[in-house]
């Protein structure tokens, strides 16, 4: 972390010189006043300069980016990261060569990376941040696949009149299934089981 210790005639003067050195604005730094300084009598006797310790505030997005890049580098991947922020939600989208290595089978690696980065981003943030990580158009494609699966299964349930249990899915993916079938009045959807083996059940609507 970047940090400087500065002295000046007054606290304000010391702070300005620190900001210059760090090339930062006042909002981007944390300040520890080591000594407020003393003007002294007639500005001559017992005068003491002010001294401060000034450090760059952690930026959660910057920390999250460098976290992902350092892990990816160990897997031999050097992705580009596109950042989108909407209030308390932060989205990162990875692109570049060998991105599939960061997705893994059924998005396992991507979900693990998302989970860990969510922790890192919130360690450096005062407000809770909801973090989503995507790579290429993986999440969009997955949503299409899951929506198609949901519709197909719902048809089966309707025609056979029998209940179907899907494979265990992470919460965000179960939500896609529920949402896809929310408008269908002939069936019900709900989740059963405990994480991480929680799964969606599609059942004919009880009359």
């Amino acid at each position: 972390m970047k940090e400087v210790t500065v002295v000046g005639q007054t606290v304000e003067e010391a702070l300005q010189s620190a900001l210059k050195q760090l090339q930062a604005t006042e909002e981007q730094v944390e300040i520890d006043i080591l000594d407020e300084g003393k003007k002294g009598i007639l500005g001559l006797f017992g005068r003491r300069p002010a001294s401060l310790k000034v450090r760059m505030k952690a930026d959660p997005i910057r920390e999250a980016k460098s976290y992902i890049l350092s892990i990816a580098a160990h897997l031999g991947v050097h992705p580009d990261i596109q950042v989108k922020r909407q209030g308390k939600k932060v989205f990162f989208s990875l692109s570049g060569e060998k991105i599939a290595l960061l997705i893994g089978k059924r998005g396992q690696t991507l979900n693990a990376l998302q989970q860990l980065t969510q922790l890192v981003i919130n360690r450096h943030s005062n407000d809770f941040i909801q973090f989503q990580l995507d790579a290429g158009d993986y999440r969009k494609k997955r949503e299409e696949t899951l929506t198609a699966l949901a519709k197909r299964m719902a048809e089966k349930v309707e025609t056979a009149g029998k209940t179907i249990r899907l494979e265990p899915l992470p919460a965000a993916e179960r939500k896609i299934i529920h949402a896809a079938l929310a408008g269908n009045r002939r069936i019900d959807t709900f989740s059963e089981g405990t994480e991480p083996k929680r799964y969606v059940v599609i059942a004919p609507k009880s009359k």
Partner: protein, 77 residues
Amino acid sequence: MEELILAIVKPLVDHPEQVIIEEKTEGSKAIYRLSLHPDDIGKVIGKHGRIAKAVRTIATAAANAAHQKKVYVEIAE
């Protein structure tokens, strides 16, 4: 692999300087035993072991990418 595990775990804990990894090989398995500051153990395991599982998932991805041995990550009590 050791460096990867450190890169994953250190930013999650309050005492990164106390993260130590011991490596052993048993047959076709590579075992990485993590020692942490007692206050950090829970952080790295997570609720129902979710964080530990995520760490293992990425370690496994790295081992597959490098065609290495099967990796096991253990957390010392």
